[in-house]
Amino acid sequence: MSLVLITTLITSAISALLAGAIVLIDSFVNNYGLVKITINKRKTIEVKGGSPLLFTLASQGIFIPSACGGRGSCGVCKVKVLTDVGAYLPTETPYISKEQMKENIRLSCQVKVKKNLEIEIPDELLYAKKFKAIVEKIKNVTYDIKELTLQLIEPQTIDFKAGQYVQLSIPPYGKIDQITQRAYSISSVPSQKNKIELLIRLVPGGAATTYVHNYMKEKEIIEFTGPFGEFYVRETDATMICVAGGSGMAPIKSIIFDLYEKGTSNREIWYFFGARSLKDLFYVDMFKDLEKKWNNFHFVPALSNPLPEDNWNGETGLITDVLDKYLKNKIEKSKPKEGYLCGSPGMINACIQVMKTNGIPEEKIYYDKFA
């Protein structure tokens, strides 16, 4: 008995002593004191040094988008660092091109704040905020896409441009022990300021979408940051060619209904929505109604693989083929055109090719890829 006691005591005492030494040295070695970060030469914040730039900025209410939540695996949280912070780390190099290196672009989750820094970030990020919201409604729009309505609690309103996205914070659940952050486009219109609507497709094995589909309950409190993104309508008179697939519907829906609500645009709008069969198609009635009310708007849903029981008499074939057919035969050729695409990288790349061959310049094609 005494043997067990002595063994436990001695092992614990040695461990405690060494742990104490580690804590002491940690507070000494990792103490970088107060550090100043100058943002866009305008704003200076004073922060405690020692943490990665991404988290330090977040602690000050400046949210750099990051799809992986700061683990250096998505390469999204890029920031221009004007101060010398040392060589590029092996964890950064896969995500930063040679041109970006020349401009001192770094991954903010990998750069530690150790001394005074000067950084540049897009102005809009300075205004992105953290929001608390209540899950008002979770509705199935197809067998694998849910429409999520979030009622804002704090702050109570949001300002965004149609087409932008937010980063949803998914709380730990099941075997996932950390907060997961994922980006989703807002599908509601900007005029509705106290609520946002998101369309979330279940990705098999996806940490965030599994939570939304299987664990999230109505009345639950959830946090998100935003708005972010460069995908929004450019104010020109060019004909808009919108193409979406699956939950790529979200930003396009927001853009189209925003333009309709404002009523100021005389632009012609063509919206091509691609799906496999009828069970993947949604919001068709909503857009058909809009088509009736609004002469400028044309909605073309297309099925690539309609089932016999679908009784489908609309367009069939790959969305790229349908798009090509319309660009060649139905859409007026003389007017300038702009492309707005949202969906999988494969679909977007294929659509860009079709648009280019039909004379839409690449710099006039805007897209939001689901990476």
Partner: protein, 195 residues
């Protein structure tokens, strides 16, 4: 064991090199030696950990393990001490050189279970070295490991471009090289007996 500490130091660097005569610490030796800079960093880290842990474990052995009759616990206690020193070293390297920290990657925490480090501590205890002898033995073995990995990294850099049969390139040639290096080092082991 009345071997002169200075003699012990040189013996552990050259004639009784922990890596090339006892074949301890081989996994990180082979993986990291692809790159000279990382080898240098890891060599430095191993030397530091080896020296500090051998001395610390000498104190732990003589002032805790022996008086309390805890010989059966020596492995776990030695490893706890090594783990703590590695943890501290990690923090220091992260502060001083983040790029070295990232390059060493998993091999830095793996020093904790590097058998060369525990091996040196156990040899120190088994051969009943004095404090001074332990210090010189730890430091010498660390420098010996560092020397061995630098030599291998340099040789590998050279033979990377050598016209070798395809099947031998990479690991095959590395093993042959290590074998020849070991023979060269062991060749002098008769000069001093450290056992």
């Amino acid at each position: 064991m009345n071997i002169n500490p200075v003699v012990l130091f040189f013996a552990s660097v050259f004639t009784s090199n922990i890596l090339l005569t006892n074949f301890l610490g081989m996994c990180s030796y082979i993986s990291i030696s692809k790159d000279l800079n990382s080898s240098n960093g890891l060599g430095m880290a191993v030397t530091f950990v080896m020296t500090v842990t051998t001395v610390l474990n000498w104190f732990v052995y003589h002032y805790i393990i022996v008086p309390f009759g805890l010989d059966y616990l020596r492995y776990i206690i030695f490893i706890i001490v090594i783990a703590a020193v590695v943890q501290i070293l990690e923090m220091v390297i992260d502060r001083i050189s983040p790029s070295l920290y990232m390059t060493l990657g998993i091999f830095l925490p793996l020093i904790t279970v590097n058998c060369a480090i525990l091996g040196v501590t156990l040899f120190m205890q088994l051969r009943n070295y004095s404090l001074l002898q332990s210090l010189f033995y730890g430091l010498g073995s660390g420098l010996g490991w560092w020397l061995a990995i630098i030599l291998l990294a340099a040789i590998r850099k050279k033979i990377d471009n050598a016209p070798a049969p395809a099947g031998l390139k990479g690991t095959g040639l590395t093993f042959i090289t290590i074998g020849i290096m070991a023979m060269a080092f062991i060749g002098f082991s008769g000069m001093i007996r450290v056992q």
